[in-house]
Every structure is written in C-alpha cells, then in structure tokens.
C-alpha cells in the first residue's frame, strides 16, 4: 500500500540520494553517469570557474582508493584528479577533469574504419601501460570506461576498483564480460598487468567484431585471442607488447600472435612492395621485349 504517488516517491528518492555539496565550492548541474562504485555529476567549480566531473562514491568507500591512485597517475590519457573530500553524509567525493566526448562503445558505432579503431586502441594501451608502469592495474577495463574526446584523444576512466600491483591475492570487482578468469575465481589469485591485458583483448575483439559486419582479419583475431587467453602465462607479457603487435598489423608487418601461411606471406609482400615489384616487372618486360626485337629496331641517319 502506498500513500504517495510514484512521481512523488521518485522525487523524494532523488532528493535523499542527491549529494549535499552546499558546504563545498561545487554546484551540481546534472548526473552524467552511474556505476557500481558511485555516481558521476557534472558540476561547476565556483572558485576556479570551470566545469568539473564530481564522482560521489557509494557509502563505505574510503578516500584513499581511487582518488589517491589516480592522483599518482599524470598522463594525457587519464583524467586528472583536482580535489577530494567527504560530504556531510559521510560519502566520499572527488573532482576531476570533465571529459567532453563519447564512450568508446558509442564512438565505435559511428566509426566503421578498422585502422582508425586500432589507432584508438593503441592510445588506450599507452594510457594503461603508463598506469602499469606506475604500479597500478585498472581491473575494470571495458568500452564503457573509455572516453573518446572530440579530437580523438582517449581517456581511461573509472579507476574505482583499481589496485596496486603488489601481488595481493584478493578477488576484486569488475565486469564479467571483460573480467579475467583469475580475477573472478573464488579463491582469488595474484593479479598483475596481464589481468588488464585480458580486458584489452576483449576490447580489441569488440573493436573488430562487436560493431561491424565484416569478418576480422585473422592476424588481428589471433592478437585478441592471445591477449585474452584464459591462462595469464599465454597472454602478452605486457601492454606494450600487445600494442606493438597491433602496430605491426597496422603497418602490414607479420604479428607475433599469428603465423602466416605462405600465400598470406606472399600477399603481404605484394601489398607492401606493390610499386617496387611493378617497376621491376616493367623493367624486365621492357628488357625482354627489346632483346627479342632489338635487331629490328634501329635508327640510322
């Protein structure tokens, strides 16, 4: 039995859930995202007069997780943290750069060209490799956590379940579709860079197949398979190796993850040296033509 209409109940729920930023310098404008760890708002920073993204963590989260990890990572592919604090209701929030762009999954629906998608993937790898280099693994990489800016710049966001690569054997949260087996096993296994490589392999698979009707090139499919191998030992050793293999594919070179057949090797050689081979072929043809016709073609004054 309900004494209030649904609309009124929704309004009350919103009011009680809305964070109280009245004691801070931020004025919340609207909700722009919601995840497992909290809610993201677009807000106005009255002190510095700029728009920011405010992430309000669910109750129970402490400030030393995502914000502190992110604050250690200064990279063009990672949204910088400007500020962090605690709301009157005890929830933790932090302000970070407001990224103007689209989520990767939305971006891909409008970008059918595979090379453009793969160049984007290389940028994602760069940002993730940087975090790994600083001893941090993301643990929840998926297209929804990657933003693409207006000029093709890439931002890896939502580091809510990120952790330091410290060999801790604890199971962590993530998205099942992109979660490495060692991440979701009940006993918990040591997580390292290869956990993110698994997710990157799944993202690469999405780039190739998820939003396109054409079948993916076999070397690229092999790269995605190697990256998302169930056994971490079978994956790429680090993100740079994965990115390098994708780069080799883009450059028309053989990739580590796939052994070409002879016709494929010949086809690649032809594609890479088409002009040179045509010129050499023309030269030989001309020479043969002239050799057989030479006695007949002479100019005497």
């Amino acid at each position: 039995m309900s004494f209030l209409p649904d609309r009124a109940l929704d309004h009350l729920r919103n009011v009680t859930e809305s964070p109280d930023f009245s004691a801070t310098r931020y004025q919340v404008e609207e909700e722009i995202g919601r995840g497992g760890m909290g809610v993201v708002y677009r807000a106005w920073d009255a002190q510095l007069e700029r728009r920011v993204a405010l992430k309000v963590m669910d109750a129970g989260y402490v400030i030393n997780q995502e914000a502190k990890l992110l604050a250690q990572l200064e990279h063009p592919g990672l949204a910088p943290v400007y500020d962090a604090g605690t709301l009157p209701d005890g929830r933790v929030y932090y302000a970070m750069r407001l990224i103007q762009g689209r989520r990767l999954d939305e971006f891909l629906r409008q970008e059918p060209r595979l090379p453009a998608r793969l160049r984007l993937f290389e940028k994602i790898c760069e940002a993730v490799a940087f975090a790994h280099n600083r001893g941090v693994i993301h643990c929840d990489l998926k297209p929804q956590n990657i933003m693409v800016g207006e000029f093709g710049e890439v931002f890896v966001v939502d580091w809510g379940v990120a952790r330091a690569i410290d060999g801790a054997a604890l199971p962590v949260a993530g998205t099942p579709q992109y979660m490495a087996p060692e991440q979701s096993s009940p006993g918990g296994h040591t997580l390292d860079a290869r956990t993110d490589i698994f997710a990157l392999g799944c993202i690469l698979r999405d780039l190739m197949t998820g939003y396109s009707t054409t079948s993916p090139p076999r070397p690229l499919a092999a790269i995605a398979r190697k990256a998302s191998a169930p056994d971490p030992a079978d994956r790429f050793g680090d993100v740079q190796q994965l990115a390098a293999d994708v780069g080799r594919f883009l450059d028309g070179l053989p990739v580590i993850a796939y052994r070409d057949t002879l016709p494929e090797r010949l086809a690649r050689f032809w594609r890479r040296n088409q002009v040179l081979l045509l010129l050499l072929g023309t030269y030989l043809a001309v020479k043969l033509f002239l050799y057989f016709l030479a006695p007949a073609i002479r100019w005497k004054p």
């Binding site: 001309v286 100019w299 005497k300």
Partner: protein
Amino acid sequence: MNKPLVGLVAGAVLGLIDGATAWFTPAVRSEMEGILMGSCVKGMLVGIICGSIARKVRSTAVGLAAGAGFGLLFAYLVALMPEPDGTHYYLQIMVPGFVLGGLIGFLTQRVGVAPAKA
C-alpha cells in the same frame, strides 16, 4: 643514410646492372666498358637529383615522375651518341632509362632520411 646518397648508390648499382644487360646485344659487346661507365654515371646523376627532390618533397608520385623524367632525359642524351656504324639505339636506351629512373625516384622516396622540417 641521407636521400641524395641513397640516390647516388641506387643509381650507380641499377645503372651498372642496366649497362650490363647490353652484353646481350652482340653488336655493342665490344664497347661494354664505356656502356657500363656511361650507364653508371647516368644512374648516379638521376639518383642525386631524385634524392635532392626527396629531401624537399615527400611524395611517391613526385619521386616516380621526377625519376622517370630525368631518366628519360639523360637516356636521350646518351642515345644521341651514335654507334661507330651510325646506328642510334634510342628505344633500347630510352625506354629502360625511363623505367629505371622511376625506380630510382621511388627508392629515394622510400629509403633514407630527410632532414627534419623546422
């Protein structure tokens, strides 16, 4: 290796190979030394010019066109010189010279380092 040097080396090697094919024409076999020398110098000149162009312009089409054009020009100058019996080998010299020039022009675009733009 810088691009004019690439052109020089490529022109010399390809020029020598091109000159060596004259051996298959018995009428000029006695003049192989001069043909090899002339063909090598012709290739080197085309190579240096194409390499210099490649320093300024990064375009396979331009490289091909310049190489083929200068290859044809130099081959024409060589073909102008008659054999002792008065014969001119225009076609035998100019057509391969044209293709070889294109090849040299292509190589100078693909190989070697161009100076960085300021």
